[in-house]
Amino acid sequence: MMFDDFQFSSILVSTIRNAPVLMFAAMAGLFAERSGVVDLALEGKMLASAFVSAAVAFTTQNPWLGVLAGVGVSVLIALIQAFVSITQKGNQLVAGIAINIALSGLTFVLAQFFFTQGGRTPDLGEARLFDIVLPGSAAVANIPFFGWFYTKLLGGHSVLVYLAFGLIPLVHWVLYHSRFGLRLRAVGENPHAADAAGVNVERTRFMAMICAGVLCSFSGAYLSIVQSGFFLRDMSAGNGYLALTALVFGNWRPLQTALGCLMFGFFTALQVQIEGVVFPVIGKVPGSLIQMIPYVVTVIVLAGLMAKSVAPKAIGVPFVKSR
C-alpha cells in the first residue's frame, strides 16, 4: 500500500495548508496584544488585504504587487486602529469591532463598484501565487513515504506557507532577543515602568501595530490569492476571531500560539475526513455535529489542560500618565 492512500497523510498535508491563515493573523495579534493593544480587528484587516491583494493582483496580473498592496492597506488600517486606540485612547474593543463591521461592508461595496460581480473580484487565473515544487520532486515522487514526504508535505506549497512557518522562530527571536521585543513586552506588561525607563510607550505600540498590520495582510493575501484565487465578500469567515482564540490558547507566546493554529488546522482537516464515515455503534454522525469538534475541543482544552492563561497585564488599557 502506498503511504499516499493512508488518510492520515492527507490530514497532515491539509493541516499545513489550513494553518497559515490563522498563523499570520495570530502572530499579528501577538504583536499587538503583547504591546498592550487588544486586536479584535484582525478579521477586518484580513478582509481588507484579501480584497486589495486580489484586486491589485488581478488588475496588474502580478500576485506580488497584490501582496504588496495588501500589506499597504492592512498597515493603513492598523494605523487608524492605532490612532484610535493609542493616540485617542479610545476603547480598543470598540475600535476593533467597528473596523471589522466597517470593512465587511466597505470591501463588498468597493468590489461591487469596481468589478460588478456581486462583491467578488474576477478570477485571478495566472495572477495567483504558484506552489513551489522542490527540486528533484519528479525523481523521488514514487519512493514510498519519502516521495510523499518530500513532494507533498515539505514541497508543493505556496511561498506564503513557508513564510508562515518561518515566522515562528523569527517572531520568537524578535520578541525575546531584540530591543524592539524587549520594549514591546515591557510596554504591554507595565507601560509606566517602560515610560520611566525612557521608552516611548506610544511609539512602541504604534510600531507593534504596524507589525500586526504587515503580518495580518499575509493572512488575507493567503486567503484570496493562494487559497481561493479571488476575493469574495466576508471570506475571512471568522478566522480572525479563531486566530485570537489560538493566541489566548497559546498564552500569547509564539510557539504555543502556532501550535494552537496547527491544532485548529488539524481538526478542520480531521473533520473533513470523518464526515460521512460510518462509526461502529453510533453509525454516521451528522455533519453539523462533526463541525463542532474543533470548538468543543478548544473549550475542553482551555478548561482542562491550561486553565489559566495569563494575558499581558496592560492589555486593553490606554496609557494615560495619571492615577
Binding site: 484610535v84 485617542q88 479610545g90 476603547n91 470598540v94 469591532i97 466597517a102 476571531y241 489566548v248 489559566k308
Partner: protein, 359 residues
C-alpha cells in the same frame, strides 16, 4: 484636555453629536463616490426610518431586539466580562421558546403560553451562558474565547436541530408555523398610525428591561457588587463578594437577556424558528453596549440608531440601486468607530473653544 473639563451638556450631547456627524460625513463621501447625492440619500433615510410612521414602527421593532442584546452585553461588561456569545445565546433562546410553543401551542391559551415561552427563552439563553461563566469562574478559561466557541457550537447544534423540525413537505429549514395563541400582540392596535409593522409588546418589554437594568445596577447591593467585581476583583474579594458566584450569575443573566432577544422576531414577527434568525443581532449588541456606555439611556438611543439604519438603509437601497445595502454595514462600523471609540476626538478643540468664549 479631557472630558472632565467640559460642561455636562458638552460631553453628553455635543461630543456624541459631533462624532455622529463626522461618521455621517465620511459616509456621505462614500455615497458621493458611488455616484449618488448624499443629502438626498440622507433625506430618504431619515424619512424612511423616522418620519414615516410605518418606517418608525420597523425602526422600533428592530430596536427592541437590539436593546435586549445590548443589555446582555452591557450587564456582563459591568462585571468585567466580555460576552461575545450573545449571538449564540439568542439563538438558543429561540430554541427554548420554540420547543415550548411547539409542545403546547395547541393546548394552552395565549395568556399562559406567551409568558411561559418568554420564560423559556430566558432560561435556555441563561443555560447556554452558564458553562462559559462556570469555566471562567472556576477554571479561569477566558470568557471571550469560550463564548466565541459557544457561538460556533450553537450554530452547529441549531443547524442539526432545526432540520429535524422541518414539517413534512416543506423546504425551508424552519419549524412549523406557531399557532396564533403564541403570537405576541402587536402595538398597532394601540397606535394604528404605525401601520402594518411587526412592532409588538416585546418593545415594551425591552423598555421595562432597560429600567430594571438601570435600577438593578445602580440602585441595588447586587449591582454594586457587580460593578465592584468588574472594576477591581481584589477589592471585591476583600469586600466579601463571591467573585465566582457573581461571574456565573452575571453570565446567566446576560444569557437570559440575549435569550429574550429572540422573543421579538420569533414570536412577534416570523412566528416560526428559522436558521440564522439572530442575523448578527448579538454582535450588534456588542456595538450598542459599547456605544451606549452600558447606560440604559445610551443603550436605548444606540439601539434606535441601529434600528433606524437598518430600516432606513433598506428603503434607501430600494430607491437608489447604486447604493447596495452593504453600504449601511460600512456606515454602522463608522458610527461605532466615531461614537464609541473616539469620544475624545473633539474634546480638546471644544474645550479650547469654550475657554476662549469665557474670556
Amino acid at each position: 484636555m479631557n472630558q472632565a473639563d467640559l460642561p455636562r451638556w458638552a460631553s453628553t450631547f455635543a461630543l456624541p453629536l459631533l462624532n455622529l456627524l463626522s461618521a455621517l460625513l465620511v459616509a456621505a463621501g462614500v455615497i458621493y463616490l458611488l455616484g449618488e447625492n448624499p443629502i438626498e440619500s440622507l433625506q430618504i433615510l431619515v424619512n424612511a426610518a423616522v418620519l414615516d410612521p410605518e418606517g418608525l414602527g420597523y425602526t422600533l421593532f428592530y430596536a427592541a431586539t437590539f436593546i435586549f442584546t445590548g443589555l446582555s452585553v452591557s450587564v456582563a461588561m459591568q462585571a468585567g466580562l466580555f460576552n461575545i456569545g450573545s449571538e449564540g445565546q439568542m439563538y438558543i433562546g429561540g430554541l427554548g421558546l420554540t420547543l415550548l410553543i411547539l409542545a403546547l401551542d395547541t393546548h394552552l391559551p395565549g395568556w399562559i403560553l406567551i409568558p411561559l415561552a418568554i420564560a423559556s427563552s430566558a432560561i435556555f439563553g441563561a443555560a447556554w451562558a452558564f458553562l462559559p461563566g462556570y469555566l471562567q469562574a472556576k477554571r479561569g478559561s477566558h470568557v471571550v474565547v469560550t463564548t466565541i466557541m459557544f457561538n460556533f457550537i450553537a450554530a452547529n447544534l441549531m443547524n442539526y436541530l432545526i432540520i429535524l423540525m422541518i414539517p413534512d413537505g416543506q423546504q425551508n429549514p424552519a419549524s412549523r408555523l406557531f399557532a396564533n395563541s403564541s403570537w405576541l400582540p402587536k402595538l398597532n392596535g394601540l397606535f394604528p398610525i404605525l401601520g402594518e409593522t411587526p412592532l409588538n409588546i416585546s418593545f415594551l418589554l425591552a423598555i421595562v428591561a432597560l429600567v430594571i437594568y438601570g435600577v438593578a445596577v445602580w440602585r441595588t447591593t447586587w449591582g454594586y457588587q457587580l460593578r465592584a467585581t468588574g472594576l477591581n476583583q481584589h477589592a471585591a474579594h476583600y469586600a466579601g463578594i463571591s467573585i465566582k458566584k457573581t461571574i456565573i450569575v452575571t453570565m446567566m443573566i446576560s444569557g437570559a437577556l440575549a435569550g429574550l432577544a429572540a422573543v421579538n422576531s420569533v414570536m412577534g414577527s416570523t412566528h416560526y424558528l428559522n436558521l440564522n434568525f439572530p442575523a448578527g443581532a448579538g454582535f450588534i449588541g456588542i456595538a450598542i453596549a459599547l456605544m451606549g456606555r452600558q447606560h440604559p439611556v445610551g443603550i436605548f438611543l444606540s439601539a434606535i440608531l441601529f434600528g433606524a439604519l437598518i430600516q432606513g438603509g433598506f428603503d434607501l437601497s430600494l430607491e437608489k440601486p447604486n447604493i447596495p445595502p452593504e453600504t449601511f454595514i460600512f456606515i454602522q462600523g463608522l458610527i461605532i468607530l466615531f461614537c464609541g471609540a473616539m469620544e475624545n476626538l473633539y474634546a480638546p478643540a471644544l474645550s479650547a473653544l469654550l475657554k476662549r468664549k469665557e474670556k
